[in-house]
């Protein structure tokens, strides 16, 4: 059952990702990404991380992707429909070689080195909100606080970028 779920979700996630890359329309690409994220939530579930799975759907697929869509809508213009020029054909191999090399090498490495299967069953309550919260607000408190500062800075940054002087109009 787990294996089935893994293969399904994994395949859907890769499929979603590839479709996103290939789509010319930004809106459609965003939708494919949402698709991939939901599949990723399934992968989390396979990994006994239910809390992460839920957060992946809520925060990632929900909040962040909505932000993307919102921006895409805001910048309607024809540019958003697609890219005017395709990339020159000779460049494709050059662009594709490094990722493919990475993939081949990583695959090869994984084939040669196996860490073995997972421990039979995770500890009781593993991946539950309580479990994660205990770690996050305990050992990793400082990191937690720091990330809050990162968010704060991001908020201030986004505000100041979006802020316009009163007299200035859309040019």
């Amino acid at each position: 059952m787990e294996a089935f779920l893994f293969w399904t979700c994994g395949a859907l996630m890769v499929f979603g990702g590839v479709m996103m890359v290939l789509q010319r329309s930004a809106v459609v690409a965003a939708l494919w990404l949402v698709f991939a994220f939901i599949a990723a939530a399934g992968v989390f579930a396979v990994l006994s991380a239910p809390f992460l799975a839920i957060m992946q759907v809520l925060v990632y697929a929900g909040a962040i992707m909505v932000l993307f869509l919102f921006v895409i809508m805001m910048l309607q213009g024809p540019v958003m429909e697609g890219e005017r020029r395709r990339m020159a054909l000779p460049l494709w191999p050059g662009a594709a070689i490094p990722p493919l090399a990475v993939l081949v090498l990583v695959g090869g490495w994984l084939g040669r080195n196996s860490a073995g299967s997972f421990p039979a069953a995770p500890p009781a309550g593993f991946g539950s909100p309580g479990h994660v919260a205990a770690a996050m607000l305990g050992r990793y408190l400082l990191a937690f606080e720091l990330i809050s500062i990162v968010l704060l800075v991001a908020i201030i940054g986004a505000l100041s970028l979006g802020h316009r002087e009163r007299n200035q109009t859309w040019s």
Partner: protein, 676 residues
Amino acid sequence: MHSPVQESLVQESLLRWIVLLPLLGAAINGLLNRRLARPVVGAIACGSVGLSFVLSVVAFARLASLPAEARLLTDIVGSWIVYGPLRVDLGFALDPLSAVMALVVTGVGFLIHIYSLGYMSHDKGFARFFTYLNLFIFAMMTLVLGENLLMLFVGWEGVGLCSYLLISFWFNEEANAIAGKKAFVVNRVGDFGFLLGIFLLGATLLPHLGAGEGLFSFRTMQHHANVLAPAATAIALLLFVGATGKSAQIPLYIWLPDAMAGPTPVSALIHAATMVTAGVYMIARMNFLYVLSPTAMQVVAIVGAATALLAATIAMTQNDIKKVLAYSTVSQLGYMMLACGVGAFAAGIFHVMTHAFFKALLFLGSGSVIHAMSGEQDMRVMGGLHRKLPVTFWTFLAGTFAIAGVFPLAGFFSKDEILWKTFSSDVGGVPLYAIAFLVAGLTAFYMMRLVVLTFHGENRASAEVRHHIHESPWTMTLPLVVLAVLSVVGGWIGWPAFLGGSNHFEHWLAPVFASGGHGAAAAGHGAEALAHGAAAAHGGGHGEVALERGLAAASLVWGLLGLSLGFLVYSRRTKVADSMRNLAGGWPYRVLLNKYYVDEAYDGAILRPGFRLSKTVLWKGIDAGVIDGLLVNGTALVVAVVGSLLRLMQNGLVRFYAWSFSVGVAVFVVYLSLRG
């Protein structure tokens, strides 16, 4: 060793006020400056110094009331530099030696303050002048009354500063400012030696200090004099370098003649009567150290004699009235050094005192002349002033006779004492005596030349200047008269034994200079020399008395001869003067007139190369060239070249960057997989 002295230390809080009153005066005048009326400024300045003089007299009286061997008053105000075993106090001390100096400095200082009231009455910087003058008295009294060598050094630098300020007092003239700077810098060169002497002394003495003893306190040093013996020569010579700066001896005398750029009262006070004698005072103060080193004594004596001769020869040719007096001062300071060098410290100090009287008188007199001549200082355009300036003339004449050593004026006693001590000392002997004797004649000659050119004959000035010639106001003539009286009678307190006197002066100073002898017991030779000198001073045998009388008579005659020769050459037979000038093709005259080209030599040998080195080699060469150019910017250049190569990749295509990034990742993964 002198335990009775130490135990009977008398704390005397009066001393600090002697020093601080002038500072107070300077502070008031300096801060309020133009808000005060001139009479108020004058009253504050003169009053503070006058009061200081009165206090000195009181302190002197208290000192005199003590038994001879216990004559020491101290006033420790507080601690100054205290760190670990190093302890230096802020304090003052009065012993017979500093008492004499204190009286001379405040006394003559007071008279010159009075004189300045008249001399500076029309000057814009009236208040500033008196501020500096008071500040000077403060520094000088710190020097004289300082309880330890470092306090003395404070005063030493302080007087140097005031000298700098007063020489460049009329700073409008670039030359004055340059002269002031020259004085300060040359003195600093001397201080460099002084400071090293202090260090060596401190380092030598430090391991032997007892609890609570001030390291540089004169009492401590005297107490531990035997410890100093091994390093005495080096210390004494280093300190002497300082003295050559302050007391204008070879090779650092060059600043004093230039220092005449300052107002004349300044020349009288600082560059004749007080500050320049600080070096002599310091050596007398450190007598217990100097007697430990016959070598150092020998050097001091030789330098003193050489300076006396050198300056006297230059003085014969100068045309500026103050320059003549300046070289005369250098020459007389040479005498004092000579006295110290031959171990006759009392005689040296005696000459300091009498010289303060008559040289201050001469300078003030010359100031009166310059005042009358509307600022003219060249003697070639003077002449015939004795009719219009009678007071100045007669007092000036008294000073001239005093310096020439005419019996029974002050100069006779002190100069004769030095000559005799030189003659009778091992260190001095006949060669140095011969030089000193020669200088005595030269002195009489050039002083008479000065008097004749200035006061005798017809006036050679322009009509307009001649019209303005007038005798000075009473504020200026009164000090002249007082100083003239002192120049006449001032020497009588040192009336020597061979003429039936009892030399009170030497007896008064005896406790200061005798104690060094005991400490020197280990040093053997030096002590013997001193003992020899002391024995001679106390009369010795009948034969010696006769010899002493004979030599005194000879020097008196020699001095009179110099005077009359000077009078004859410059008043009657001016052709003689011309032919002297043209002697041997005129080059000896030119060499003398140009002061042996010493300034030019220093300039060419030290200053110019120094500047060139600093500018072209150090600054432009090393700083900008090697360090910044080669090392710093060289590194920057490498970075720049690498950067410009990398710049080719900066094509602004974000996707190119992303691509390179992914290449990087691929390479990294290749590396990882190769490692296994």
